[in-house]
């Protein structure tokens, strides 16, 4: 059945992999693209990156971090249940060069979003090194998959419980410097992407960031996902989500993403409140 969940695994606390039947998306998607889902018929539309696919099972996989109401509704779905809506593949695929020295940086659930891009780099004949950040050892995800599919992986943890003690950008600076790489890709929390862009500004490296603004339709219709890149305003859902990291206005992105914080808390409380009295279908 289309949109049905056929595998569900918890990779780390509050981080869940969902494999979903989606034959058309499986046939067409490319690294860097995403889907818009509504987990239930009364949910918001949220974007999720396509992490992997299986032609045999005609499926795609996403890794979801439960941060608010809709992501919680998403990971609450069990095998055999189906997303109410699943649209994609959306956005432009990642830019994949050939024969370059490439560094990949990811933090948190961004590690999952990075995996297909890192694999595509390697498959196109680039030399790839992957640097990942996690809160602590138990939050590390997809290490084996990255090593097998992309290249050597180095970890940084905030508490030092595994690998480098500190954040992933600090790790990058200890490992490399100007001229070490031709290209790079960064994906993760906004402060981390901003730090990566700042750190590499004069490294003579083309750095792409995969941005995560708030989206509604994901089809270029609302303009809610607009981001400033250099002198121009872009719609991340159709022009991106990947942009030149050195030209992105990350401060603006952070402000825009925080614009609904009070509402998000209310939505969550409302959802939880309802669950006490009502039988959740």
């Amino acid at each position: 059945m289309i949109n049905q969940i056929i595998d569900r695994r918890e990779l780390a606390p509050a981080v869940t992999l969902l494999e979903v039947v989606a034959p058309r998306i499986q046939r067409r998607w490319k690294a860097g693209q995403f889907v818009i889902v509504r987990p239930t018929d009364h949910s918001e539309r949220i974007p999720l990156t396509i992490m992997d696919s299986s032609p045999e099972r005609q499926s795609i996989s996403m890794v979801v971090q439960a941060v608010g109401k809709t992501t919680q509704e998403t990971v609450a779905l069990q095998c055999g249940e189906a997303f109410a809506d699943l649209a994609g593949p959306l956005g432009e695929p990642a830019t994949i060069p050939a024969g370059k020295r490439v560094v990949c940086l990811a933090g948190g659930v961004g590690v999952a979003e990075l995996l297909p891009v890192a694999r595509a780099y390697r498959d196109a004949g680039n030399q790839v090194i992957v640097l990942c950040g996690a809160r602590s050892n138990e939050y590390r995800i997809l290490d084996t998959e990255l090593r097998a599919g992309a290249g050597p992986v180095h970890w940084a943890t905030d508490d030092g419980s595994f690998g480098f003690h500190g954040n992933v950008v600090a790790l990058l600076k200890t490992l490399a410097g100007p001229g070490a790489f031709d290209e790079g890709h960064v994906i993760g929390p906004i402060p981390m992407m901003k730090a990566a862009a700042d750190a590499t500004r004069d490294w003579h490296l083309k750095l792409y960031a995969s941005l995560n603004p708030v989206m509604i339709d994901g089809t270029g219709m609302c303009g809610g996902c607009r981001v400033t890149v250099g002198d121009s305003v872009k719609f991340a859902c159709v022009d991106g989500p990947e942009f030149d990291a050195h030209r992105v206005d990350f401060d603006e992105l952070a402000r825009r993403n925080g614009a609904y914080r009070t509402h998000e808390r209310l939505a969550l409380e409302h959802g939880n409140g309802c669950r006490i009295g009502l039988d959740v279908r």
Partner: protein
């Protein structure tokens, strides 16, 4: 046939019946504003029609609804019959009776209008539709029909595709409508607010198509989920592109990306499609502060401003031309005024200012003056240097127009476009074989009824192309 009672004589001199409206003091919910005629009013208004020898109204209706005949049924009190007459041409009287610009089409051509006010055709059409709702259950009962003719794909579920689907499915084509969003109706669903077009009306009239055998596929973006070529490979023999003009223009002024600054599309989508007015019962929020400024002078501007008023915000529409140049329908402007929307003419935004958290707090405006008429006949506004002033605003909505949604065009370079609009010939054909287009994607922003006109023309062209002998495919039983 049962004998009908003697018919009263037409009375065009009777005053045109005013549409009863919801008291402005009660307009703080999404409830519909125009309440529709009472039975008594419908009778009086129907009798105003002269039953002309040469009914000019019919030619003026882009759907050629047999207005004269449906009104005659109403004179006889046969409202179901009136609905059936309309249905010969259009299954959407509930939609058109509300949002069609009848003042520019059927009513403009009505003979009665030469001496008195024209017959209120739109309101009568709506009355017939509202009456039919009572028996909608009956209209859509039973299993959907199963057409057996060639497969046709219609892209987008706006009015252009919807009417094309109606025409094609009745010719027994197997019609599939592919829609990018999770709900059907295009702008009718995400743009036009509930208080002008209640969602149930839209859903019910679309459900009729479903019952006739039209298949709907939502969350399917042609160009992304599948290309046009792939649709042909999957057995579709013709494709119609009714993808609309959904790409919003930005104001391109400093501060536009502050929180609280929306395009009309985003603002209206949050409210209409995602029902943000019910937040937190519905999960999508919207920021509506103490004061809202809506920039623009068209339908979207009125709709956004009227929503903002309903959410309790002091609302101003800022328009760079004068009142006479407003593009919205007179009715919408009147309703907005009744609801307390303030208009500020001959002024344009130049910058937005925000607080340290990135929320908009004020708009800097500049006064404009109208210059000489340009080649289009419209007087173009020019800023008056040094006339800048500031107004407070916690919510700003840019309702300054839309361009065709480019998603499909981007991945289909063989499709000829001009300034983003898909180019078609007089038969609705694009540069691709057996691919047709119509509605806003061809015209840029236009209207529901013109989109329907295009959809109907394209359906006819598709029928000619797929059935060169003009032959009907076997009609299904019904």
């Amino acid at each position: 046939m049962k004998p009908s009672p003697p018919r009263p004589k037409p009375d065009p001199k009777a005053p045109r019946q005013p549409l009863p409206l919801l008291d402005p003091a009660l307009r703080h919910t999404p409830a519909e504003v125009a309440l529709g005629f009472t039975g008594e009013q419908a009778k009086i208004e129907a009798l105003r029609c002269l039953q002309c020898q040469k009914p000019t109204c019919i030619d003026a209706c882009p759907l050629n609804i047999d207005i004269k005949r449906f009104i005659l049924r109403m004179v006889d009190g046969d409202y179901a019959g009136a609905h059936e007459v309309i249905s010969e041409q259009s299954p959407f009287p509930g939609v058109c009776g509300r949002v069609c610009q009848h003042e520019l089409f059927c009513e403009e051509a009505c003979i009665v209008g030469r001496r008195w006010d024209p017959v209120a055709i739109g309101a009568l059409e709506r009355f017939a539709a509202d009456h039919a709702r009572l028996r909608m259950q009956e209209l859509v009962k039973g299993e959907p029909r199963k057409p057996t003719g060639p497969k046709v794909a219609l892209v987008g579920s706006g009015p252009a595709s919807l009417i094309a689907a109606y025409d094609l499915v009745r010719l027994n084509y197997r019609v599939t409508i592919f829609e990018a969003l999770h709900r059907l109706g295009g702008v009718l669903a995400y743009g036009i607010p509930n208080f002008r077009l209640p969602r149930e009306i839209l859903h019910e009239e679309i459900a009729r198509l479903q019952n006739l055998g039209v298949e709907f596929v939502t969350s399917f973006i042609v160009g992304k989920s599948a290309t046009i070529e792939e649709l042909f490979e999957e057995g579709y023999e013709a494709v119609f592109l009714g993808t609309g003009a959904g790409l919003p223009y930005l104001m391109e002024i400093p501060g536009e990306n502050l929180a609280g600054v929306y395009t009309a599309n985003e603002f209206l989508t949050r409210l209409n499609l995602m029902e943000a007015y019910r937040f937190p019962e519905r999960p999508t929020p919207v920021h509506v502060g103490k004061r809202t400024v809506v920039v623009g002078g068209g339908n979207s501007a009125m709709d956004a401003a009227r929503w903002a008023r309903r959410l309790g915000s002091e609302t101003t529409i800022l328009y760079r031309r004068g009142r006479a140049e407003l593009k919205a329908r007179i009715e919408e402007i009147k309703h907005a005024e009744e609801e307390g929307v303030r208009f500020e003419f001959l002024a344009a935004p130049v910058a937005l200012y925000g607080d340290p958290h990135g929320f908009v707090t004020a708009m800097e405006c500049i006064r404009m003056e109208l210059g000489e008429p340009d080649e289009s006949g419209r007087r173009s506004p020019a800023p008056i240097p040094g006339s800048e002033y500031r107004i407070p605003a916690e919510t700003v909505v840019a309702a300054i127009g839309q361009a065709p949604n480019p998603t499909l065009q981007r991945v289909t370079p063989q499709l000829h476009t001009r300034r983003g609009k898909i180019v078609i010939d007089e038969a609705g054909r694009t540069s691709m074989n057996l691919v047709f287009a119509g509605g806003d994607v061809v015209r840029g922003g236009s209207t529901v009824i013109l989109a329907m006109k295009d959809g109907r023309a394209a359906a006819a062209a598709i029928h000619r192309a797929l059935s060169p002998n003009g032959g009907n495919h076997d009609q299904p039983d019904h």
